[in-house]
Subunit: 295 residues, 2 copies
DNA sequence: GCAGCATGGTAAGGCTTCCTGATCATTTTA
DNA sequence: TAAAATGATCAGGAAGCCTTACCATGCTGC
């Protein structure tokens, strides 16, 4: 029913007008002149009307051709725009990545990663959100973000996990606390200390140190409140090293040597769904960045 | 540089999504299923990114594919719109004709022509202007209108003339005028009559009756003023029959038999420039209409 | 007036593209 | 577990498209 207007012949028509002749158009399109003639003839046959005046030496548009010209030009421009955009998207020169991470990663790891990423891929827009680890998993599962960087408590259905970092658990206390000078600690040394639980405390579960949790009366999820408590000397807590904010001069981090505990931080994304080009670039970038510096 | 996105593969992608699978798309596009697979693969290679998820049984878009889909849909829709409009234009189902005629033709001939034209070509827009014959020629030459219907004083460079009607010259006078009862007149019978010249009087030039013009003191170009003068009995005039308005009960038209004069009314258009499809349809229609009824 | 150069159109051959039909591997369904 | 449906792959052939060579025509400068 509808004739299929191929783009190449349309380009020929535009080139003939813009370059002022069949020969010039042929040169411009890197074709031979007969190719131009035939493309035009084929197009005219499809439309059922001549586009160019015949007989006179010069290449002139018929009124029908004049009517068609701007529409052809628009269509070709539209094609080129789609083609260019798609190529930019595919080659990581454009696009958008939405990432969610736990706060510790967002503040301690992501800045370095993103700083180099935006240099390598200046066209890609980045959207970084942070939240506790279960929220991160949920956002990835729901498709709100394509990538997550977090620790998984357990393998979750529908999520793929790529390990990135081992994040060692330690004890955090004020610098004048008796434990502050230790190079490492056995969990029994914490017995009797006022332990403040936080969102990462469940990392102790399943280890001998778990019984410490049972004797803890204080739970604080907010990190700012927690550090304020610690600085006030109200008690001690356990944290992964990344979550420990080194800029607090009066707080000390002492690794827990027995049991040696860690959280495994990794990249998560939905299983079975491939990433957008931009997200794939980010994923590769994250992995290269963290393996270069040693996990 | 830019990959050439052919429309057929894009249609394949749309069909796969809309019909829900490669086989369904193949049926819908009247192609074999491998053709669809190959078209998609080729398109993916051009873009450098997969559009469909591989491995799982179903046909699902990658995020990149989801990004592309609406753009592909737009581009294909744009193509179809251009194709449909161009075809409508070419096949006289749409378009526009601008015509200029002399007033007599506009009021006496065009109504019948246009009445049947709009039935045959309901999609074509018509723009009819009238003016004296030299204005008509000018408008055609300047390209303001594509077609003119008028009489040419002389063959004009750049204009093509297709004769349509012979329009006989006669004398117009009031019904109580001594000449009103004649069936025909010899020019000498007009001698001594007060002759009012008008825009068509130069048709007498070059004939024996030309000397009547020299003895005429009154020239009136406006047809309404002229008929008012005639009805007032101020004088007589000469007019082509078509220009004589029969609805004036008190005026009579008496053909001039010696010399027998006529103006040749015809279609004019620019030489060497082909007509738009709509104008060509109009031209054919006018010629068929007037030859059917005898010139 | 005629050679020379430009225009665009035409014809025959070859290369590339694209489609088909048969077949395969995998997943879903009964 | 057999059957059906999915999409992928491959070889062969048809069609489209491009190229080289040649033709017809119109303009230009001597």
């Amino acid at each position: 029913m509808l004739p299929e207007l191929k783009l190449q012949p349309l380009r020929c028509v535009l080139a003939i007008i813009d370059q002022g002749g069949f020969h010039a158009a042929a040169r411009h399109l890197h074709r031979s002149q007969p190719a131009i003639s035939m493309a035009v003839r084929d197009l005219e046959e499809r439309l059922g009307q001549p586009l160019f005046e015949k007989g006179n030496g010069k290449a002139t548009l018929t009124p029908f051709g004049q009517w068609c010209l701007p529409r052809f030009r628009e269509l070709v421009a539209h094609h080129d725009r789609v083609s260019r955009d798609a190529l930019a998207m595919a080659s990581h020169q454009a696009g958008r990545v939405d990432i969610a991470t736990v706060p510790s990663v967002a503040s301690r790891v992501m800045p370095g990663i993103l700083a180099s990423f935006v240099i390598d891929f200046p066209g890609i827009e980045i959207n970084l959100q942070d939240g506790h680890s279960e929220l991160v998993s949920q956002m990835v599962l729901a498709g709100e973000v394509e990538l997550g960087i977090t620790s998984l408590w357990q393998p979750e259905e529908g999520l793929e996990f790529i390990p990135l970092l081992h994040d060692e658990i330690g004890v955090v206390c004020r610098d004048d606390h008796p434990l502050a000078g230790h190079a490492r600690l056995h969990w029994r040394e914490l017995a009797g200390q006022p332990l403040i639980r936080n969102g990462t405390s469940r990392l102790l579960e399943g280890s001998p140190a778990a019984e410490l949790l049972e004797r803890s009366a204080l739970y604080i999820s907010n990190m700012i409140s927690l550090t304020a408590m610690l600085e006030a000397g109200i008690g001690i807590t356990t944290l992964p090293r990344l979550a420990f904010q080194e800029e607090h001069a009066r707080l000390r981090f002492v690794p827990l040597s027995a049991p040696r505990l860690e959280r495994r931080i990794g990249l998560i994304c939905r299983a079975g769904v491939s990433l957008s080009p931009a997200a794939a670039a980010m994923q590769r970038h994250v992995m290269a960045y963290l393996t270069d510096r040693g996990a």
